[in-house]
């Protein structure tokens, strides 16, 4: 960076560097946000990020909506793993209300959350491949995301923005077909993931493109508020699932993979290793679910759990509770809490203040993307333009989560 490529004559109106817009709509940004890069040849001298292109004022909207209508808003934060956001929100409300969910509900939730983590990581790692010139892996893994989406579809009817589950549990029980689909995924995906790893992990070209690119030290990462795989790649073993277990994660055996240098290669490896851990967690959860009574899929909290539609039509109590919940007459307790879950990108936090009204007094989403994206300028300073692209995809920036 220190060497100068062009020497301009005295008083020239030309500049030594040029400005390049990476985004707002550029295939390499994988989302709508802008980076104004000041480049000298191919080297990045400085950069400035602009976000907010798809800001939808979720926090404001949430102040007018009853609790069960906020779930679809959370879908649209990190839309690559919306079930985690949904569950995180349900668990926040449950914690506020003091609802204890049955073990089976917890395990079913863990299955769904870990599937979501896998889809998020496989897209991220696939895209790292695409941005370094290896399209095959992405295309190959895409099939398995489709399998997971079929599982969501079987459980809740939708695929990308899932709105899965309810406060208290799930809207309906898992069908045998859903379990079959999960079993199929557990059987087929490890084979594909192994092949993907064989292709990428020790690939000379891939290693040279990613090693030492966009590194960050553990200390800087913590100071920048990194969480999730990006922090773990820098060598800090912080994972909300272990640090502050929720949803019965304490019943499971798994390890937290960590990296050392915090560069793109380590982030890639950490995400891959996490997918293996997630698969193992799902396997354990499936075994645990088999031992529990198969008709439990929600907590017994009629005042907050939306009853089944057929019961609303035929039973008096169900009709009353349905009416009360929809009309916002179920009392939500006043209280204030911060509830984090381990999202696919890091610590997804819900800071909720309730004054007892039908909607939150204040709801704030701690979006991991928004916080660690600040470090992007520091990560790519002095790097090549092509490194900036690969660094961005390995951070896994999701525009929906940036802007909320």
């Amino acid at each position: 960076m220190s060497e100068q490529h062009i020497t301009l004559p005295e008083g020239s109106i030309e500049r030594q560097t040029q400005t390049l817009n990476l985004g707002p709509t550029h295939p390499a940004t994988h989302g709508v946000f802008q980076n104004i890069l000041e480049i000298d040849g191919e080297r990045i001298v400085s950069s400035e990020s602009t976000v907010g292109y798809i800001h939808r004022a979720f926090e404001k909207i949430a102040e007018r909506r009853p609790y069960y209508q906020i779930t679809p808003l959370t879908d649209r934060l990190n839309y690559c793993s919306s079930p985690i956001n949904n569950m995180g929100w349900h668990m926040t409300v449950e914690k506020l209300l003091g609802i204890q969910t049955p073990k089976r509900v917890d395990y079913l939730r863990i299955i769904i959350m870990e599937l979501a983590r896998i889809t998020d990581h496989l897209i991220c790692n696939g895209v790292v491949g695409v941005d370094s010139g290896a399209f095959t892996g992405f295309l190959y893994l895409m099939k398995y995301r489709e399998l997971v989406y079929e599982i969501y579809e079987e459980i809740c009817g939708s695929r990308l923005t899932t709105n899965i589950g309810r406060v208290g549990g799930f809207e309906r029980n898992f069908t045998p077909a859903a379990f079959e689909k999960i079993e199929r995924f557990l059987k087929e995906y490890p084979v594909a993931l192994k092949e993907f790893e064989t292709m990428m992990n020790r690939n000379r070209i891939f290693m040279e493109r990613t090693q030492g690119v966009g590194p960050i030290s553990a200390e800087r990462a913590m100071n920048y508020g990194f969480t999730g795989p990006n922090l773990r790649a820098a060598g800090v073993d912080y994972d909300v699932r272990v640090a502050q277990p929720y949803c019965s994660y304490e019943d499971f055996e798994f390890t937290i993979p960590v990296g050392t240098t915090g560069d793109c290669y380590d982030r890639f490896l950490v995400r891959n290793a996490e997918m293996w851990e997630s698969l193992s967690i799902i396997r354990q959860a499936m075994d645990k679910v088999k031992e529990l009574p198969s008709d439990v899929y929600h907590a017994d909290v009629p005042a907050y759990y939306l009853p089944e539609k057929s019961a609303v039509y035929t039973k008096m109590e169900a009709l009353i509770y349905h009416f009360k919940i929809i009309m916002g007459e179920s009392d939500i307790l006043p209280g204030e809490l911060y509830n984090p879950v381990e999202g696919a990108n890091g610590e997804l936090g819900f800071y909720l203040i309730s004054d007892g009204g039908r909607s939150p007094y204040r709801l704030h989403f701690r979006r991991p993307c928004f916080i660690y994206y600040q470090a992007y300028g520091e990560l790519i300073k002095g790097a090549m333009l092509s490194d900036a692209v690969i660094c961005m995809s390995s951070l896994n920036l999701i525009a929906g989560e940036l802007d909320a």
Partner: protein, 173 residues
Amino acid sequence: MSLTNDYIKQRLAEKFGESISQVEESFGTMSFTAPKDLNLKVMQFLYDEEELQFRFLTDLTAVHYPNRTGEELAVVYHLYNFKERVRLRMKVYTSIEDTRVFTATRLFESANWMERETYDFFGVNFVGHPNLKRILNVDEMTYFPMRKEFPLEDQTRTDKDDEMFGRGGHIGI
């Protein structure tokens, strides 16, 4: 886990005495209020002390309480200790006329954008921030949209009666 909320409370009381108020515990997280001119000193103390080490700023946001005269805006910091796995909530109240609060960017890089977001939506003026401008809204905006005086639905509309649907002007607290 040796770091308990009682111990943190005791250390804060020793150092800052009466300035630390409203110490309470909800859902296992300790929460306290610091005067706004001491916010940096308290955070620095929590950061530096060998036994406390709150070195991670998890979240920073604000809340608007229009009915609390003189302290309408609360800036809320969530601090975290990685080693002891303890979370702490610190609040700093400021009046809506004079919203100056010291920035935490010198202590935490992560505070940069979070403070910009808080400024953008609540108009908290973080003194000493390197680049305090709007982040998610357009630069031309002249108001702070997350304040409670901007209801989402027009509360004066008369063409529909939705008292039954709980949509009346709900200000709360």
